[in-house]
Symmetry: C2
Subunit: 199 residues, 2 copies
């Protein structure tokens, strides 16, 4: 015996989401059956609307429902500094930090020759054009993940941007605040020692 | 800064699901943005269709898109035995086991006086009516969870059904197959010893 078709379909759809296996998908599908009609309709509509209305900002590549995005069109932001991130989610993480008031550029990925992702496949061309066009930008912060791909992408971009005379920096590596030395890996420890700060 | 409204709404909707917090909801919402248009439309429609088409079988209370459900309308099934379960999902678990060919009755919950759930709040009345109407049913298996509420509901139903002369049984308690005695709790061990089987 199988589940009735409508619920089997719903389970299949939940299973397409990352990190959701058959058991969880079944639990979620059954849960939605017990939800209010209106809540399910809202959910259904939110999926369609997000997919329809959200797109990449034509300037920075951040997700937005306007174009240019809220950040690119905000003239109160510092136009002399730009942070290059991998994903639109990273923009939100820095915005929540609340200390950065400059521009962003979203790469939508990192270089990964093993997966066939070269400079053409990510949003690098637009970055270079933006930097060439602007005579205000003084610094580019490469805020890429501390993964092998993130670091090699940062190296690549650094070499590309530096000749133009713009200052290029990357985020500090070291111990996460609140973490134990005991559990840190040796590369992190090495970075933390290399980047030690005098008191 | 907040996420653009359509994505913020989608995140909120994912957060209404059980076991999904803000971080996971955000990850899922961003994932759906990268999905194919058709997949998102299918997902959206699957939610609405499941909610609209799935209802409880008027006889047994199992979820179904027909009425009566596939099991109740299947005359090849053993009409002399009925398994009483808490949730529709439990029906599927026993069906997947593949050894049981009788009828079901879904309670949609268990007695829980602390939460204000008495016999009127769950599908007990229909169960008694079914048993009274049928002159075929010889045995009722109370396949309720091995929780305090499940066991007290089983006790309650046992007292209610036994006077009619129908045989009432409950599932065996004991060690789960593949589990270690070392990790079993003492009530489980007690049940396993009490229910020991001679070889």
């Amino acid at each position: 015996m199988q589940y009735p078709l409508p619920i089997a379909k719903l389970i299949d759809n939940f299973m397409k989401l990352p990190g959701i296996g058959e058991k969880t998908a079944t639990r979620l599908a059954f849960y939605t059956l017990d939800m209010q009609d209106k809540d399910v309709e809202d959910f259904s509509q939110a999926l369609i609307e997000a997919k329809k209305q959200i797109h990449s900002c034509s300037i920075c590549g951040n997700i937005t429902d306007t174009d240019p995005c809220e950040i690119c069109s905000n003239t109160n932001r510092d136009q002399t500094i730009m942070m290059v991130v991998e994903q639109a989610k990273d923009v939100m993480a820095f915005e929540q930090m609340g200390e950065y008031n400059g521009l962003y550029h979203v790469l939508h990925g990192v270089l990964s020759p093993m997966d066939g992702i070269g400079p053409e496949e990510i949003n690098i061309k637009n970055l270079i054009i933006r930097l060439q066009k602007s005579d205000e930008i003084r610094e580019v912060i490469l805020a890429l993940n501390s993964t092998p791909e993130g670091e090699s992408t940062a190296m690549y971009l650094g070499k590309l941007i530096k000749p133009s005379g713009i200052k290029v920096s990357r985020l500090a590596s070291g111990l996460a605040v609140g973490s134990d030395i005991e559990y840190a890996n040796s590369i992190t420890l090495k970075r933390a020692v290399q980047g030690r700060i005098s008191l």
